[in-house]
Amino acid sequence: MNPFSSGTRLRDMIRAIRACKTAAEERAVVRKECAAIRAAISENDQDYRHRNLAKLMFIHMLGYPTHFGQMECLKLIASPGFPEKRIGYLGLMLLLDERQEVLMLVTNSIKQDLSHTNQYIVGLALCALGNICSAEMARDLAPEVERLLQFRDPNIRKKAALCSIRIVKKVPDLAENFINPAASLLKEKHHGVLLTGIQLCTDLCNISAEALEYFRKKCTDGLVKVLKDVANSPYAPEYDVSGIADPFLHIKLLKLLRVLGQGDADASDSMNDILAQVATKTESNKNAGNAILYECVSTIMTIEENGGLRVLAVNILGRFLSSRDNNIRYVALNMLMKAIALDSQAVQRHRATILECVKDSDASIRKRALELVYLLVNESNVKSLTKELIDYLEISDPEFKGDLTAKICSIVEKFSPEKIWYIDQMLKVLPKAGNYVKDEVWHALIVVITNASDLHGYIVRSLYRELQTAGEQETLVRVAVWCIGEYGEMLVGNAGMLNQEDPITVTESDAVDVIETAIKCHSLDLATRAMCLMALLKLSSRFPSCSQRINDTIIHYKESLVLELQQRAIEFNYIIEKHQNIRSALVERMPVLDEATYSGRRAGSVPAAVSTSQGAPLNLPNGVAKPTAAPLVDLLDLSSDEVSAPSSSGGDFLHDLFGVDLPPASSQPGGNHAQKSGTDVLLDLLSIGTPLAQSTSMADMLSSGDENKSPADILDKLGSPSGPPSQASPPVGSSSMMDLLDGFGPVSSVPENNGPTYPSLVAFESSSLRVTFNFSKQPGNPQTTYVEAQFVNKSPNAYSNFVFQAAVPKFLQLHLDPASSNTLPASGNGSITQKLRLKNSQHGKKSLVMRIRIGYKINDKDVLEEGQVNNFPRDL
C-alpha cells in the first residue's frame, strides 16, 4: 500500500515520520501528507475526514503550518456522529485560536450543540467555548452557559463554570449575571463542581468589586465549613492523593479564602481556626501535604494580622528551609520574600540558613536566596553579610558572578556606614570580579573617592597594591589608573597615612611603571588604555622628574594604529613639549563631584540608559541641548553636539565627564562610539589640531546652552541671558579653562554669527517703550530664526511685572525663552532681553509677522500695550 495516500492510517504516518533520519526527509514526508490531505479536502472526502484531521494535528504539533485544515474542523463539528464531532472540536482547539475569523462560523454549531440532548456533546461544546471563545462569541452564548450552570449533570455544571470564567474575563460586564449562580455552586457536594465553582468565584472577585463584597458577606462561613469538611473527611479513594483527600480542593479553597480575607478583618477572623487546623494537622512528609501547607502559609501572610498564626507560618517556612528537598526550599525562599514585608524580625532569624542557600549548587535556589539576602540587609548586619557574600564571590560560578556582584555593589552603596568601609569593600570586589562591575557602580565609587579627601592617600596606595596582583580586571585598572593619576604625589609621598596601613615605598618611576604596564597590556580595552594616557599626562606634571620618560612613552603612541590613542598621544605630546606653562593648570585636581547631584541623576535615570546612551554621534542643531544636563557636564561638555548626552535621559553624567564620545565629526563621522571613557573632557578644550569650526561650536554650546531649561544649570550663570549671546561670562569653577579660552584669542570673541546677518529691527515703539529685535540664523537651517528682543523703558518710571507675549499665524512656530528679568529700569538705564525662536514653515513664500502684547505695572497701575510687527526682513 502506498504509504502516502490519504488512506494512510495515523499510526502509519507517524511511523513513516519516525523513520526519517534527517529533518529534510521529515519535511518531505510531511509535505506529501499535506498534499494528500489537501487533495482529500478539495474532493470533500467524507470518510477519512477525521483521520486526516488527526494527521493534521500531529503535523501541527511538529510545527508545520496547517491552516488549510481549519474548514475541515468546521465540517467535522457540524457532522452528527460523535467521533467526528470529537475530533472536530479537538482540531478546533488546537489549530484555531480566538483571533481567527473562521471562529465566528463555529458559533452557530456550538450554540446548537449546547442544547444537544447528548450531554457529552454539550460538554464538548462547553470545552471548546471555554478554551478559545472570543468576546463576541462570549456575549452571544453567555445566556446558554448560564442556563447550563444549573444543569442536572454535574460534569456539565463544572464545565459550564469554567466556561463562565472565560466569558467573564472576556466580557467583564456580564460578571453580575454570574454572581448568584456561582454562589450556589459553592454548596455542591461534587468535588469537580466545587473546584470549578471556587475557581469561578475567585475570578469573579478579582474582576468585580461588588462580587467580592457579596462573596465576603454571604459565603465566607460556608467556605470555612467546606474546608473543614474536606480536611476532616474520611478516606475517599477517588480523590485521595498519598493519604490526603483532594489536595487540589484544599488549595483552591485556601486561595479563595485568601482573596476574601485580604483587607477585611471580619472575614479573616472567621478563618483563623481552620487555618490553624490546616497548618498544624497536615502531614508534611509528602509533596501534596507540603503543597497545602505552602498555600496555607501564603494565605496567612496575606490576610489581616494575627500574631499567633503568623508565628506558625514562619515556623513552617523555617522547617521548609531546612528540608533536603530542593523544591521545598525554593518554595520557602519565595514565600520568605513576601514574609519579610510583614515580619522581618522572624526572617532575620533564618539569616544563616539563607546565606547557606546562596552557596547552593542549584541555580534557581541561589538566585532566590540572593534576592532574599538583598532584602534582609539592614544597617546592623550589612558588614557581616557583605563579608560572607564577598568571600563567596571568589568561588562562585561565572554566570552567577554578574548577579552577585551587582547585588553586593548595591548593598554596599546603600548601607555603608562610613566611607572608608565602602571603599574597602569595593577594593575587595574589584580585584575579584572587576569585569562584572557595571559602569555606574565604579563611577559612583569615583564620586565617593573624590569626596573622601582625607582618604585619598590610603585609597591610592591600596589601589596600587591591588593593581600589582590583579592587573587584568578592567574596572580595577580603570579606577586605579585614575586615582594614581589624580593623587600620584600622595602615593609617592605616603601622605595621609592611616593607622592601620603598612608603610609602602613607591617611587615616582614605580608609579609610572604601573601605568605603563597597564597601557601595554593588550587584554585591556581601549577606554582603559586611553585613561592610562591621560593619567600619564597628569603624572608628567606632578612628577617632573619622570616627565621625559613619560613623554617618550607618549611619543611611542603617536604612531598607534588606534585612532583614539593616537589622537591623545599627539595632543598630550604637544602639551608637554610646547605648553609647559599651562600644563600644571590643565591637570589640576578634579573638583569634588557632588554626590547628591550624582545620586539624584542616577535615581532619575532609566537603568538602560547608562550603557546605551551612546548611539551614533548625533548631529544636533546648535542649541538643542540635553534637557536634564548636570551642571558640571555642560561646563565641560564643550564639543557636545555629538556627545551621547541627549539620548541619556538623565543618565550617567559622570560618564559624560569621562567623556565617552570622541571629538566631533570634523575628524570622523560615526567613529568610535562604543562605550568608552575616552576623551577626558579637558581635551576638547585643547583641540588644537581641529579647525576653527570646532571652537565656534564650542562657544555656541556655551551660549546656546541658554536654551537649556534646567534652572539649576550653572550654564544659566555661564551664558547670562541678559548679555548678547556671544560673550561667555566666567563660569563657576574651573577658572583655568576660561583662562585658556581667553588665551585662544579668536575663540572667545567669536560671536554667534554663523550665518547671514540681518539688520536689527525696531519692532514696536510707543512713547513709553521700545522693542528691538536682533536676528540670527543657523547656516544650515533657513527656516528657523533666533530673535533676541530687547525692551527699553523710555519713561522716567520703572516698570515691574513686565510680561511680553506674542502670537503668530499658523505657518509659524514660536518659542519663547524666559526673560532676563521682569523689572525694567527707567529711562533706558537698563533693558530686559528675551529670546525667541521662530520657525517658518513657509520660508521663502511668506515672511514673518507677529502680534505682540506687553503688560507691565507702573506706579501700581497695570498697563497693556499691543501692536503688530509687520516689518520683518523679507528673507527671514
Binding site: L10, R11, I14, A54, M57, M61, G63, P65, F82, P83, R86, I87, L90, M93, L94, D97, E98, R99, Y120, G123, C127, G130, N131, N155, K158, K159, L162, C163, I165, H191, G192, L195, T196, D203, E238, Y239, V241, D246, P247, F248, I251, K255, N287, A288, A291, Y294, E295, S298, D325, N326, N327, I328, R329, Y330, V331, S361, D362, S364, I365, K367
Partner: protein, 143 residues
C-alpha cells in the same frame, strides 16, 4: 491565567504533546519550546523542579523518557502543579496501562481528550481519575 501551557517532550527534545492556553504564533511556539527544553534538559536530578523563564515559571518532572513541562503564572502554587503532573501521569497510566512515550504518540488524540477533561482554559477542572476517564471510556466503547 494559571496554567499557560503543557508540554510533553522526550529526552531528545522532540515534542510529543503540546497544549497551549494562551495564543502564540507558530514561530513563537517553536522558539519557546526550544528554549525551555534546553534549559530543563540540562538540569540534573538534584536541582529543583522549578525554572524561572521570562515572566513565568516552568514546573517540570521527568518520568522515564518523557519530560512533562507546565508553564504557569508567577502566582501559582508550584507544589500543587507538581501534584497535577503526577495526577496526569497516573490518569494516563490507568487508561493505557503502563503508559510509555509510544502510547502518547500513537494515541495523541486520546491524550488530548484526557488533558481536556482535566484542564480547561488554564484551570484545573477535574481531579478524580474516574470522572476524567469515564467519557473517554464511553467513547471507546461506542466506536
Amino acid at each position: 491565567m494559571g496554567i499557560r501551557f503543557i508540554l510533553m517532550v522526550n529526552k531528545q527534545g522532540q515534542t510529543r504533546l503540546a497544549q497551549y492556553y494562551e495564543y502564540l504564533t507558530l514561530e513563537e511556539r517553536r522558539a519557546l519550546e526550544g528554549e525551555i527544553v534546553r534549559k530543563c534538559l540540562a538540569r540534573t536530578e538534584q536541582q529543583c523542579s522549578f525554572v524561572e523563564h521570562r515572566n513565568y515559571k516552568i514546573v517540570y518532572r521527568r518520568y522515564a523518557s518523557l519530560f512533562f513541562l507546565v508553564g504557569v503564572d508567577n502566582e501559582e502554587n508550584e507544589l500543587a502543579i507538581l501534584e497535577f503532573i503526577h495526577l496526569l501521569v497516573e490518569t494516563m497510566d490507568r487508561h493505557f496501562g503502563n503508559v510509555c512515550e509510544l502510547d502518547v504518540m500513537f494515541h495523541l488524540e486520546k491524550a488530548h481528550f484526557m488533558l481536556e477533561e482535566m484542564v480547561m482554559n488554564g484551570c484545573i477542572v477535574e481531579t478524580s481519575k474516574a470522572n476524567i476517564l469515564s467519557p473517554i471510556q464511553l467513547m471507546d466503547k461506542a466506536s
